[in-house]
Structure formats: C-alpha cells, structure tokens
C-alpha cells in the first residue's frame, strides 16, 4: 500500500552496487558485526510497530559509540545516503520505516544510564535506554521519570524524544518535552550538538522544543538529560460508570471545570470494556455505556482531599456506579484493563488500526456519536479508549487485513475520524506522530504554506534532506492527489456501502 511513499525503485543491480559501496565505506569505521546488509539480517528492521508498511533498508548499522555515530553520519552525508534512526521500533506511525536506499541507524547499543543525580533530580541516559529502565534506576532515590507511554517497558527515550511521547499521566505531569532538559546528538554532517542545557533554559532560540517531536528528521539523538520527580507517596483511582456516553463526556469536562487536574483521567466505552474483560479481569462494570478511571496522587492528605472532591463532581455528573481503589493491588487492577486495551483488541479481531487524534474535551460525546455512525457507514466495528482528560482518542478500528475490502474501508474509516477531529478543532495525532501513516492527514490539517514552512525548518537543520526523508511533511503533489481523491469520494459514494 501507499507505494507513492517509496522512492523510485532502482534496478537490482544499481541497488546492489550502491549497497556494496556503502558497506565498504562503513567497513572503514565499524567492525563487521555492526554492519548488516544481507536480507536475512536486515529483515527484522523492515518495519516498526506500524507493520503494514515494510521496506528493506539498504544497510543497518549498530554503532555503540558517539564517535562511530559521527563517522557513519559523515559517510552517509558524503555519499548522500538517507539515514533513518531507530530505537526499539515500537513507534505506531512508521517513523522508523526504512528508506529503500537508506541506512537504518539503530541506537539499540546506546543503552547505558550514565548518571542519576538524586540531588539535581536529573538522569543522564543514552538514547537507547528504555523508558521504564529510567524509573527503575531512579526508584532507589524515591524518584521517577513521569512520561509513561503504554509501550514504556520497551520504547526508548530517544524514540520518546523523536515522538514527544505522552502517556496516561501526562495530563498532570506533561509530555516528553516538559520532562527533558537537554538532548545531545549529532547533526546530519556528523557535527556534535546539544539542544537545551542542564539548566532550565538555554541561550538563543528554543531549539529543544523543535527537536522534541521532530521524528528523527532534524538531528540524531545519542544522549538525553531528563528530569526526575519525587514519587508520589500515594495514588488512588476511582472507577465511575455512566449509563450514557454524553454524561461520561460531560463528567470529564466537569472534573476539569472544578479545578481538579487528575493524575490520569481515562475513558473506555462498553465495547472496549467487554473486550478487555475477556482478556484480563479488571472488575469493570460491563453494563455501563462508558467507564471513567480517575486517579489522584500526592501526599496522603492531598489524595484524601482530592478524591473527596472528585467523588462529589463525578456523582453530580451522574455516575451510576462508583468505586475508589482500597489499596495498591486494586488500583493496579483497575489500570490493568486500560493498559491491556490494545492487546485485548487483538484478541477479538484479526487486526486493528489504532487512531490517535486529539479533540477538545467538550466534543468527546459528539465524537463518539460520530464514530458510531461511521461504524455503520464503513461496516466495521470500533472500540474506544480515550485519554479523556486531554481529549486524546484511541479508537481501535477492528478489521481483517487479509480482506482487501475491509482494509480499504478501514483506511477510509480512519481518515474520516482524523478529518472529523480536525473539524472539531483538534489534531490528527496526539502522541503517536505522523511518520508515514498520517502524511495524507497532514494535507488536511495544514495549508501548503504551512507545510512549506515545515520543510524550511527541516532544511535549516538538514539542508540536503537526508535524515528520515519522506516522513511527516507530505509533498505538495501528494496533497494534490489526496485532494482529488476526496472529490472522487464525494462523487462516487461507495455504492456497495449501506447508506442512511
């Protein structure tokens, strides 16, 4: 699919020639075992967690030192070879999808925690360190790293920086950007560079804020200084049931309107709780049209006070059933269902496509109703799990990839959700990134002038566009074609689909 993403296929011979040239050049600076180019060795790198997009890279390199990274970059720059950085490959939008004629620069060996400074509440870690490993290492000091994307046991901090990852607790504790002080790495030509500093700001333009979330297109990250924060003394979670979607959506808005910023505020619809219940028994109310998980953390005094206020607000908003976690075991049980939402969806359908748009909180109920209509329109089921507190939706569209027509309808369903999100004042991606997956949607959200400005930003860092080319910023031509497709969709309204 999406063959337009891929560069013009070179004939096999010239590709092989290019590969040989590159392997020889890299062999000058890297040990043989750090260079992979045979198909059986590069195949594991052909995709990230967006498995629908696969491309064999020309070469995969696995450096272990910064000097090697610099040398690789210099060689690629010299030979005009595209470079795609890769952490754990858990990204959901194809940010690490290889370039057919490019190098995959794996940072897997940059897996050392260099320093935990408990007094400064910071950790200096290499880019390939796993997100959860930071909190595990900091736990001895009563500290942790706050952003907790659901893939945190596997995903790397370098990948988090590339995607500006969030997680269930970012409503209160912020995104990656808010928890990173400094990124050290290399420019495309191999020059070392640092963005941000060990202080709370740095001189000049705030380049750190553009590096975070740049999906590996501006620089290569080898080392990150993150903020650590004191572990809350206590956390308790409320599970509240609602008999209709509207009141659940209104309850979310009401919590915030009352000046409460929960540590987490999540919503699942009935289809999702049913799927989850079959997968792990989280004691969810399966009768409810939607349930909310609302967490408070802090000192015991704070939590007690906040839980009481949350209880009042949620009950006033019409919660039909209400339970506060008695202890840590029960709190984790409440969360176990939420955290297993994706695998549980895999259990009830051969495939699912996870969407990631964000909408203003007040539109939650409207969005859910629109999705229900789309289920009928595209004749596919959709289960819903939301980071409701910050309006970030993860509708999971269930389909069978073996069935080409389901696949096609699923793509249209997804595009419809994203466009509806933009229309409601939201964005096509809240935390998963654009990668290759949402290139078309970028045409909807941004004007040609805005997309050209993005390209200008890229060229300020990477004038020859060698770092992760073809991601995030769709070409003008691509958007023109996508625009035409829309018109077609208008003229030929899929006669095979049910109409209402």
């Amino acid at each position: 699919m999406n063959s337009s993403l891929r560069p013009e296929s070179q004939d096999g011979a010239s590709r092989e020639l290019r590969q040989r040239e590159l392997v020889a050049a890299l062999g000058q600076v890297l040990a043989r075992e750090m260079i992979l180019f045979r198909e059986e060795d590069t195949a594991p790198f052909e995709c990230d967690a967006l498995t629908a997009y696969r491309t064999l890279p020309l070469v995969v390199v696995l450096p272990s030192t910064e000097a090697q990274v610099a040398a690789i970059l210099r060689i690629c720059h010299e030979l005009s070879v595209p470079i795609v950085a890769r952490g754990a490959g858990t990204g959901l939008s194809g940010g690490a999808t290889p370039h057919e004629l490019g190098v995959i620069l794996s940072l897997a060996k940059f897996n050392k925690i260099l320093n935990i400074d408990a007094a400064a509440c910071t950790a200096v870690v290499q880019g390939g360190v796993r997100n959860l490993a930071i909190s595990e290492a900091a736990a001895a000091y009563g500290l942790y790293y706050a952003p907790d994307p659901s893939s945190q046991i596997a995903c790397t901090i370098g990948g988090n920086v590339a995607e500006n990852s969030g997680g269930v607790h970012c409503l209160k504790y912020g995104l990656t950007l808010h928890n990173v002080l400094r990124v050290r790495g290399f420019m495309v030509d191999g020059e070392p560079v640092e963005f941000g500093s060990q202080s709370l700001d740095a001189a000049g333009l705030d380049l750190l804020s553009i590096i975070v979330g740049s999906e590996g297109m501006l620089a290569i990250t080898t080392e990150v200084t993150v903020k650590l924060i004191p572990k809350p003394l206590l956390a308790r979670c409320i599970m509240a049931s609602f008999s209709d979607i509207e009141s659940a959506g209104a309850a979310v808005a009401s919590v915030i309107a009352h000046g409460i910023i929960p540590a987490g505020l999540e919503m699942m619809d009935r289809a999702m709780t049913a799927a989850v219940d079959a997968f792990v028994h989280a004691d969810y109310d399966l009768e409810a049209a939607a349930i909310l998980l609302c967490e408070s953390d802090g000192t015991p005094e704070e939590v007690e006070e906040e839980i009481a206020r949350m209880e009042q607000v949620l009950k006033a908003a019409g919660a039909s059933r209400f339970e506060v976690s008695r202890d840590e075991a029960q709190r984790l049980k409440f969360w176990s269902g939420r955290k297993n939402a994706f695998p549980a969806s895999g259990g009830i359908s051969p495939d699912y496509m996870c969407m990631d748009s964000t909408i203003p909180r007040r539109c939650l109920a409207e969005m859910l109703r629109a999705i229900q209509q789309m289920e009928m329109k595209y004749n596919l089921r959709c289960v819903n799990v939301f980071h409701a507190g910050d309006g970030n939706l993860h509708p999971l569209i269930l389909f069978d990839a073996e069935d080409a027509d389901q696949m096609r309808r699923c793509e249209l369903f997804g595009a419809d959700i994203l466009e509806t999100s933009v229309r409601l004042g939201g964005t096509v991606t809240g935390e998963h990134g654009v990668g290759v997956e949402k290139l078309n949607s970028m045409c909807v959200q941004f004007s040609a002038a805005e997309r050209t400005q993005f390209l200008g930003v890229k060229r300020a860092f990477d004038p020859r566009e060698l770092l992760n080319p073809g991601k995030v910023i769709p070409t003008l031509q691509r958007c023109a074609e996508y625009g035409k497709m829309h018109v077609r969709r208008g003229l030929l309204p899929f006669p095979e689909l049910p109409r209402f």
């Binding site: 400064a120 509440c121 000091y141 009563g142 500006n164 969030g166 970012c170 912020g174 995104l175 950007l177 808010h178 020059e191 500093s197 060990q198 202080s199 709370l200 001189a203 000049g204 333009l205 705030d206 804020s209 553009i210 979330g213 740049s214 004191p230 003394l233 808005a253 915030i256 000046g259 910023i261 000192t299 704070e302 007690e304 006070e305 964000t358 203003p360 909180r361 007040r362 910050d390 970030n392 004042g425 964005t427 096509v428 991606t429 935390e431 998963h432 990134g433 949402k438 970028m442 959200q445 941004f446 004007s447 400005q453 993005f454 200008g456 930003v457 060229r459 300020a460 860092f461 910023i473």
Partner: protein, 364 residues
Amino acid sequence: MDTQDPVLAHLVERVDSARAHQTPLDIRGGGTKLFYGGLPAGEPVDVTVLAGITSYEPTELVVTARAGTRLSDLESALEEHGQCLPFEPPRFAAGGTLGGMVAAGLSGPARASVGSVRDHVLGVTLLNGRAEVLTFGGQVAKNVAGYDVSRLMVGTLGILGIICEVSLKVLPVSTATATLRFDWDESRALEQLRTWAAQPLPINASAWQGGRLHLRLAGARAAVEAACKRLGGERVEPAQAKDWWTSVRDQSAAFFSLDDASMARGESVWRLSVPAISGALALPGEQFIEWNGALRWWKTGAEAALVRDAATRAGGHATLMRGADKSQGVFAPLNEVLMRVHQGLKQAFDPKRIFNPGRLYPGL
C-alpha cells in the same frame, strides 16, 4: 485565525511591502520590555491593534487570544473563572501584551515547579517574512502533528515573524497557598532547597536575597498545611506575601532596578540560568536567587566575560537583563553549529531579514 480580518490584512500588507523594499520592522506590543535584548531597530509596527480574546473555554483549560491583548485583560478574564497563567510572566510595567510575553519567553517565580511560558504554549498563528499567515499547534494539549513550531516562537524576540494569535494552556488557581520565611545564608538556603526539591512537597516558588529565604507553598489545603508544619520557618501574612511575590514576579523589587548610583558604578543586572544544584557563584555584587537555585540574578559591575564565565562553568548561561553597555552582547554567544541552525531558521521564516534585526543576536 480569520485572515479576512481587516486589522490582520493591514499587517499582512505592511509586511508584504516591507519584504518588497527590505525595510526592517520593529514589532511593538506594549513596549514594556524594550530594555530587554538588543536595541530595537526599524520602522515600528504596532501589534496592539490585534487585540481581544478569541475563545476561552474554562473546562478545556485553554485560552486563545490575539497577540496584542493586554496581559492584564487576559489575566482578569482567567481570574473570573478561578484560573491563571501558572508560570507568572513578569509584567515589568502596565500595558504588556500576550505577544510580547511569548516573544520574550520570560517566566516568573513559579517556573521551577510549574514550567515555563514555552511549556504552556499550545498554538501560535504567525505572520512570517513572506507575508503568509500560518498556524502551528492548536488548542489541545496533546498534539504532535508536524514540528512544534508554536513553541519555537517562545523567546524569539520577534525575529522569525509577527506573532498574531496564541493559544495557551491555563490552570486552576491553587486551592491554598502559604509563604514561609527563613533567615538563612546562601549556602544553607541552597542546601535546603536542594533537599526539598527531591521530596514530594507542594513547593511552588522560592526566592533568596540578603540572608532571607521566602518559600511559597501551593496546592491542596491539607498538603499546604502539612508542609507548613513540617518545614517550620515564619509564616508571612497572606496579603503581605502576595505583594512580595508580585514584586519578585514583576521585578519591581528594589534589587532589579539600576538607580543612578549603581549606573555610575557601571553596574548591570545579569540573569544567570544554571543547574539548581550549583554551589554559590563567586561574583562581586548583590545576588537574588529564584527557582530553587536554578536562577541567579546578579547586580554587579563585573565585566561581561567574567559573568559569562561564571555561568558557563556552572553549566548554564548568562543574559544581560538590564545595563547600559550592550557592546558585549545581551545573550550568551552560540557555538558555530547552533548559530548555523539559527541562521537557517531565520532564512526559513524571514528570508528578507525584516523582523526585529539584531534583537536576539547581531546578524539575525
């Protein structure tokens, strides 16, 4: 943002003409921060005409307003709904605007605990040097569509374009606050702040000067009361505390002004942003410490090079906040790689180099 708006359309025309004639423009809001950064140059462009709150939905914790909106108007609107700009941007004087706040990128006393201006920007509509009106980011907190250009605008001092409209994340005002006072010398204060920072305490702001530490707690009532009991010190009466923190936030406290005598002595006020755990910095003059030790203001007659060196050795950077002599630059010099990126970004946003020339760095 409505590009048909006649006020905006007029600004677009103005930029288009400046671009065609390569006329430098001096972007003006309330003019409350003219002392900050390189000397303004070019034809003044008044952005205060672009005023007014576009949308404010308290349940979304988001406010969108046009850049010329007065900060005081914005903060009053938030206050009506029990919300605030938690990063406490300094106002310096009456009349400052939202656009100026973003362009200067300065945050106040609570910055170390709640984050900076940058952290709260969700979206920006920008008029770039090609006279294009572009919107980046949006009105939702989680948004990773494209590069985060809206946050890049914070602290640009206008060199990349005219900020036309801004969406900000806002927060509810804390249920309870309390201010404690301790008579401690610098090293004791720094040491205590460091210890507290690693503990789950509701510390919202800290300020040390002349042997006295002020500590502001904010959060749930129970948490603030518990912390007051635990930390000790002398509790400052609420109205007095409020005035005192305002004088820190707006830099109206005597420390921050340069009177004739200090000017005659060749003194300047420097802003040293350093890692909070840095030990005492050895510079001549007077000091004012904020942000749990991460921000150290110095009123000193020391040479620029000496001040910069002290900041660099601590792992930070120094900015000339107030002073007559800007010949050694206002902001810490950048290395070659970073300067190349700065020049590339200037080229990308403002190819004819019309906006606020020299305000951030000479040549940008």
